[in-house]
C-alpha cells in the first residue's frame, strides 16, 4: 500500500493504515536501542519543521526522529497568537515550494492548516497539530503504547477525561481507537464536550467516580487554564475535585489498567504528581515511543525503502 502524500488526520485512516505505522514504529524502537541509533534511510532528504504554535516536545521529537533517519532537518518556530500578522500561510507555502524541501511538519493554530498547505505544495506534509482539529502522530504513538501493553484493541475499554471540545489529541485518538475496534468513552462536564459527540460512537459520562473502574486505559487531557476564564468551568479546584486523577480515584482502577497523558501535564490539576509518577503511568513510554513513531511516519511519507 502506498500512503497518501500527507498525513493530515486519523479520521481517514483504516485499521491497516494505522497498523502499518505502528509495525514500522516497533521496528524503529529496536534501532533506537542500538549503540549508534541511526539509519541512513532518508539521507539527502530535507525535512522542515514549521511550528507556528508554542511546542517544545513535539518539535524536538520530530527533529530527533528525522535525524535518526539521517535526514537534514531545518527547524522553524514562531509563536504567533494571531496568524493574521506577518506572512500568510499561502506565502509560506510558495516559499517552501521555491526552496524545494521534501517534507514539512506543520504545527498551526488553525484547524485545516495542514490540509491547506498539503494541497498547495508538492512536499509531503505531516500534521503536528492543527488547532482543535487533529494531532495524528500523538494518537498513533498513543495507540502504539496501548498495543504494547494490551496486544490488541478488541474488547479494550478506553476512557478519555477532560476538555474534549478543544482537544485535537482526543479527536485523533477517538478516530484511531474506533478504527481499531476499541470501546471509547469520554468523561467531562458538558461544557467541555462538543455537540453531537455521540454521533462519533463514543459513550459520554459526566461523573468520573461512577465509571473509572470499568476502563483499561484512562487518558487525561491537559486542561487549558484559559477555558476557566471563558466560563467553561468554575475553578481549577473544582475541576480537580470532579475530574482530576487523584490517588484515591486511581486505586479504584482495574489492576492491569494504564494511565496516559499527552503532556505537558498540569500536575495537581488533571493528574496528581504521585499518579503521574506511579507504575500505572505510561507517560514517559509515550514520549519514547513518539520518536520511533515519528520516524515511521517520516519514513513512510518520504518514500523510504526498507533495507
Amino acid at each position: 500500500m502506498s500512503p497518501k502524500k500527507d498525513l493530515i488526520g486519523i479520521e481517514n485512516l483504516n485499521a491497516d493504515n494505522i497498523s502499518q505505522y505502528l509495525d514500522l514504529a516497533d521496528n524503529f524502537l529496536e534501532v533506537l536501542a542500538r549503540p549508534i541509533p541511526i539509519v541512513p534511510s532518508l539521507r539527502g532528504k530535507t525535512i522542515l519543521t514549521l511550528f507556528f504554535e508554542a511546542s517544545t516536545r513535539t518539535q524536538i521529537s520530530f527533529s530527533i526522529a528525522a535525524k535518526r533517519l539521517s535526514a537534514d532537518v531545518v527547524n522553524f518556530s514562531q509563536s504567533t497568537s494571531s496568524v493574521k500578522k506577518g506572512e500568510t500561510l499561502l506565502d509560506t507555502a510558495r516559499n517552501i515550494e521555491a526552496m524545494k524541501v521534501d517534507g514539512v511538519v506543520l504545527r498551526h493554530s488553525a484547524p485545516g492548516a495542514a490540509q491547506f498547505l498539503g494541497q498547495r505544495i508538492d512536499a509531503f506534509v505531516i500534521n503536528a497539530g492543527d488547532g482543535t482539529h487533529e494531532h495524528p502522530t500523538q494518537a498513533l504513538l498513543d495507540l502504539m503504547t496501548i498495543r504494547q501493553h494490551f496486544g490488541s484493541f478488541k474488547k479494550l475499554n478506553v476512557l478519555i477525561i477532560g476538555d474534549i471540545s478543544h482537544s485535537r489529541v482526543a479527536r485523533s485518538n477517538i478516530f484511531g481507537l474506533q478504527a481499531l475496534g476499541a470501546r471509547v468513552a469520554i468523561c467531562a462536564p458538558p461544557t467541555l464536550i462538543p455537540l453531537e459527540i455521540k454521533g462519533l460512537g463514543v459513550e459520554v459520562y459526566y461523573n468520573l467516580d461512577e465509571v473509572i473502574q470499568d476502563f483499561d486505559v484512562v487518558m487525561a487531557l491537559r486542561i487549558q487554564l484559559e477555558r476557566q476564564q471563558s466560563g467553561l468551568f468554575p475553578s481549577v479546584r473544582e475541576y480537580r475535585t470532579l475530574y482530576g486523577l487523584t490517588k484515591e480515584r486511581v486505586q479504584k482502577m482495574k489492576r492491569k489498567s494504564i494511565i496516559m497523558h499527552p503532556g505537558p501535564t498540569n500536575r495537581g490539576i488533571e493528574i496528581d504528581p504521585d499518579v503521574a509518577d506511579s507504575e500505572k503511568s505510561v507517560i514517559l513510554e509515550q514520549v519514547k515511543n513518539g520518536v520511533a513513531l515519528r520516524m515511521a511516519v517520516l519514513f513512510i511519507h518520504a518514500g523510504g525503502k526498507i533495507e
Binding site: T88, A110, P111, G112, A113, Q115, D130, E196, G199, L200
Partner: protein
C-alpha cells in the same frame, strides 16, 4: 427604438398565475401585449421557444462593497454579475465603508446604478447610525432618497430596546426592518454550524440556537409593535418552525433564505474550503430539509442570494481567518432549478414567485410581473442548459464560490431591462 417580440416562450408570471406558451411584444420599453400569438413585422424577434421567460428577478439581499472595497466589487461590476444571473433589481446591504446610513450615500448608489444602467439597485439603509446598534438613522430622509428598507445586516440589532424602537418607528412609513438574526454572544466567533461535523473537524461551531433566539425575540417584538419584520437568510429548522407559527398568529413577518441553505449541508466543510464559510453557516441536513419544506409550504417567502464578494487574498487563508460570504448572483438560478424545480419538484410558479412578485410586494416596487403596461424587465432561462463555473467567466470582481469547476444545469440566456436587451449569453 424598434419593438422587440419574444416568440413561443413558456411564460411564468406568478403575479397573474400564468404558466403558458405566449408571445410577448415590447414597445416603448414596456410590455405591450402578451398573447398566444403576436405578429409584428417591424419588431426584432427573439426566438424563445425552448426558454422559460420570467419577470426580471429581484434579489432582496446582496453586498456590492460600494462604497469602500472596489477591489472586491463595485456597483458596476455587481450590476454586470447580477444581470448575468437574471436579476434586474437588487437590494444592496448597508455594511459598506462608510455604511449606507445617510441620504448622500443613497443618492450616490442611485446615481452610480443609473450610470451603469444594467439593473435597478435599491439601497437598504442601516437601522442605526454607522451600524453601531445604538441611534436610529433618519428613516424619513433615507426613504425619501430611495432606501427600500432598513437593516444592520452582518449583525442583528443586539439591544432589545433599540430593536423595539426601530420596529415602532418603522410604522410611520410602513417599511420593513430587515434583521440578520444572530445572537453574537451565543454564536461567539463560530466558524461553521455547531453539530456533528464541527465536532469531527474541530472547527468552532455557531449553534442554530444563536439564530433562533433572535428570530424568536424579533417575532415577539414584531407582534408587540405591529411593525413589519423581514428575517434575512434563515437557515435552521427552528427558525422555519418559529416563522410558520408566527404567520399562523398573523404576525407581520416575511423571510428569505439563500440557495446555499437549500443546496448544501455542513458536510461540505470537510474540505476546509473557506468559500463555504458563510454567516449564518451552512447547516445540517435536517435543517436543509426543513428549509426546503418551508419553501414548499410558503413559510419562506423569498429566495435571496446574499451575494458577498471577497478578494482571493482574504479568502485563500486558514479557514478560521477567512471572512464570511460567497458570491451568488451568477449561480442562483442554476441552484434553484437543480434543487427546487428538478429534485424537489416545486412548480416554476411557486419558485419564481419567491424571486419576483414576493420581493416586489415586500419592497413595494412596481416590478416582478409581466403584464401589459409594465416596464419590460424580463429574464429568459434555458432550464436544461449545462455549463461549468469558471473563474475567468464570472462577471463579479470576486470569485469566491465553492462552485468553481462544477457543472451546473440551467442558465440565464437573455435579460431585458427597461425594454432593452442588456445581457445575452454568448454561445
Amino acid at each position: 427604438m424598434s419593438n422587440t417580440l419574444l416568440k413561443g416562450a413558456r411564460v411564468i408570471d406568478p403575479a397573474s398565475k400564468l404558466d403558458a406558451k405566449r408571445d410577448i411584444l415590447i414597445k416603448d420599453r414596456k410590455v405591450a401585449r402578451i398573447e398566444k400569438s403576436v405578429a409584428d413585422k417591424k419588431a426584432r424577434v427573439i426566438n424563445a421557444r425552448d426558454l422559460i421567460v420570467v419577470p426580471g428577478l429581484i434579489d432582496l439581499h446582496c453586498h456590492l462593497r460600494d462604497p469602500g472595497r472596489p477591489d472586491e466589487e463595485t456597483i458596476e461590476t455587481g450590476s454586470h454579475a447580477a444581470v448575468a444571473g437574471g436579476f434586474t433589481s437588487i437590494c444592496c446591504m448597508p455594511n459598506t465603508e462608510p455604511a449606507i446610513d445617510s441620504d448622500g450615500i443613497v443618492n450616490y448608489i442611485y446615481k452610480e446604478a443609473a450610470r451603469v444602467g444594467l439593473c435597478n439597485v435599491f439601497p437598504i439603509s442601516a437601522i442605526t447610525k454607522n451600524r453601531d446598534g445604538k441611534e436610529l438613522t433618519e428613516f424619513g430622509e433615507l426613504l425619501k432618497a430611495g432606501a427600500k428598507g432598513f437593516s444592520d445586516d452582518g449583525d442583528a440589532v443586539a439591544d432589545n430596546n433599540v430593536m423595539r424602537h426601530a420596529l415602532e418607528y418603522s410604522r410611520v412609513f410602513d417599511v420593513p426592518i430587515f434583521e440578520h438574526p444572530i445572537d453574537k454572544s451565543l454564536a461567539q466567533d463560530g466558524l461553521m454550524n455547531e453539530g456533528l461535523v464541527s465536532t469531527r473537524l474541530g472547527l468552532k461551531g455557531s449553534p442554530a440556537i444563536a439564530e433562533e433566539l433572535i428570530v424568536a425575540r424579533d417575532l415577539l417584538l414584531a407582534k408587540f409593535t405591529g411593525a413589519r419584520l423581514h428575517l434575512c437568510h434563515i437557515s435552521t429548522k427552528g427558525s422555519v418552525e418559529l416563522v410558520r407559527k408566527a404567520k399562523k398568529e398573523s404576525v407581520n413577518v416575511t423571510c428569505e433564505t439563500c440557495p446555499h441553505y437549500f443546496y448544501y449541508n455542513d458536510e461540505v466543510l470537510d474540505s476546509f474550503d473557506a468559500n463555504y464559510k458563510v454567516n449564518p453557516p451552512i447547516r445540517s441536513e435536517t435543517d436543509r430539509q426543513a428549509i426546503i419544506e418551508g419553501l414548499k409550504d410558503g413559510t419562506i417567502d423569498c429566495i435571496a442570494t446574499d451575494h458577498a464578494p471577497h478578494c482571493q487574498a482574504e479568502k485563500e487563508v486558514e479557514f478560521a481567518n477567512a471572512p464570511y460570504g460567497m458570491i451568488g448572483f451568477e449561480t442562483a438560478v442554476s441552484l434553484v432549478i437543480m434543487e427546487l424545480v428538478n429534485r424537489q419538484k416545486m412548480s416554476w410558479l411557486d419558485v419564481i414567485a419567491k424571486m419576483t412578485v414576493n420581493p416586489a410586494r415586500l419592497l413595494k416596487i412596481n416590478a416582478g410581473n409581466i403584464s401589459p403596461g409594465t416596464v419590460a424587465n424580463i429574464t429568459m432561462i434555458a432550464p436544461d442548459r449545462k455549463w461549468k463555473v469558471a473563474a475567468d467567466k464570472i462577471r463579479s470582481r470576486s470569485k469566491n464560490t465553492p462552485l468553481l469547476g462544477t457543472e451546473l444545469k440551467g442558465r440565464v440566456r437573455n435579460v431585458i431591462f427597461k425594454g432593452v436587451l442588456k445581457y445575452s449569453l454568448k454561445d
